[in-house]
């Protein structure tokens, strides 16, 4: 099993450009999450999904959109990138069975720079 994978690993954008980050998991997990990690700050939740076709806002959703068309994939979109969105983005997933509620499995991250 590959676990949680993210593409791309690195990306440089110019202000105003758009892009989509892809997260895929092969563990049949119901729940998926997008976080951003900035120096000196904890991971912050951007958006999450409790199942295929559903999405919900997290702590810092502005400037981002998400979609969960397939259970195994969770997409994070930036419609008009801003320098403040320079960050490392992590995707995570977790199962829904008893005992799985608390452990989130993280992907390797995408390092995004917006010039």
């Amino acid at each position: 099993n590959a676990g949680v994978t993210q593409t791309p690993k690195f990306r440089v954008l110019k202000t105003g450009q758009s892009m989509t980050l892809l997260c895929a998991q092969d563990m049949n997990h119901e729940y998926m999450y997008w976080y951003r990690q900035d120096p000196g700050m904890g991971l912050r939740l951007i958006h999450y999904s409790v199942g295929e076709g559903t999405t919900a806002k997290g702590e810092v959703p502005d400037g981002y959109n998400v979609s969960r068309l397939k259970k195994q994939n969770f997409l994070l979109g930036l419609e008009s990138a801003a320098p403040s969105q320079t960050s490392v983005y992590f995707c995570a997933s977790r199962g829904s069975n008893p005992g799985q509620e608390n452990e989130q499995f993280f992907g390797p991250g995408t390092r995004l720079t917006v010039l």
Partner: protein, 112 residues
């Protein structure tokens, strides 16, 4: 407001020198407290979940403990491979299972 503060920000140890990392939290009804390990350039890796004051969990050289206001991650006789950033996170009753509040982490460096 739910909040997690980790200290110190960075810690340098000699191999074999035991120490503790601190995670202080304020939360409206603790559902769970989590410790993760993060290696440079990688995603966090789950270590422990603690649910109630007095609970302890161990894994190799790591031991996590929990009180009503803080958690400690004790590292006994650390080795260079224990070097990483250790993250603490909490889940509140109000936030539910889907919202983890993370601290900024403690960067641990263990030198031979």
């Amino acid at each position: 407001e739910d909040q997690v503060t980790q200290s110190p920000e960075a810690l340098r140890l000699q191999e074999g020198e035991s120490s503790s990392l601190n995670c202080s939290y304020t939360v409206s009804g603790l559902r769970g407290l989590f410790w993760y390990r993060q290696d440079p350039g990688k995603g966090p890796e789950f270590l422990f979940t603690l649910y109630s004051a007095g609970e302890e969990k161990e894994k190799e050289r790591l031991k996590a403990t929990l009180t009503k206001k803080e958690s400690f991650l004790h590292i006994t006789a650390p080795k260079p491979e224990d070097s990483a950033t250790y993250l603490c996170a909490v889940q509140s009753a109000a936030g539910g299972y889907n919202k983890l509040i993370f601290g900024a982490g403690t960067r641990l460096a263990v030198h031979p």
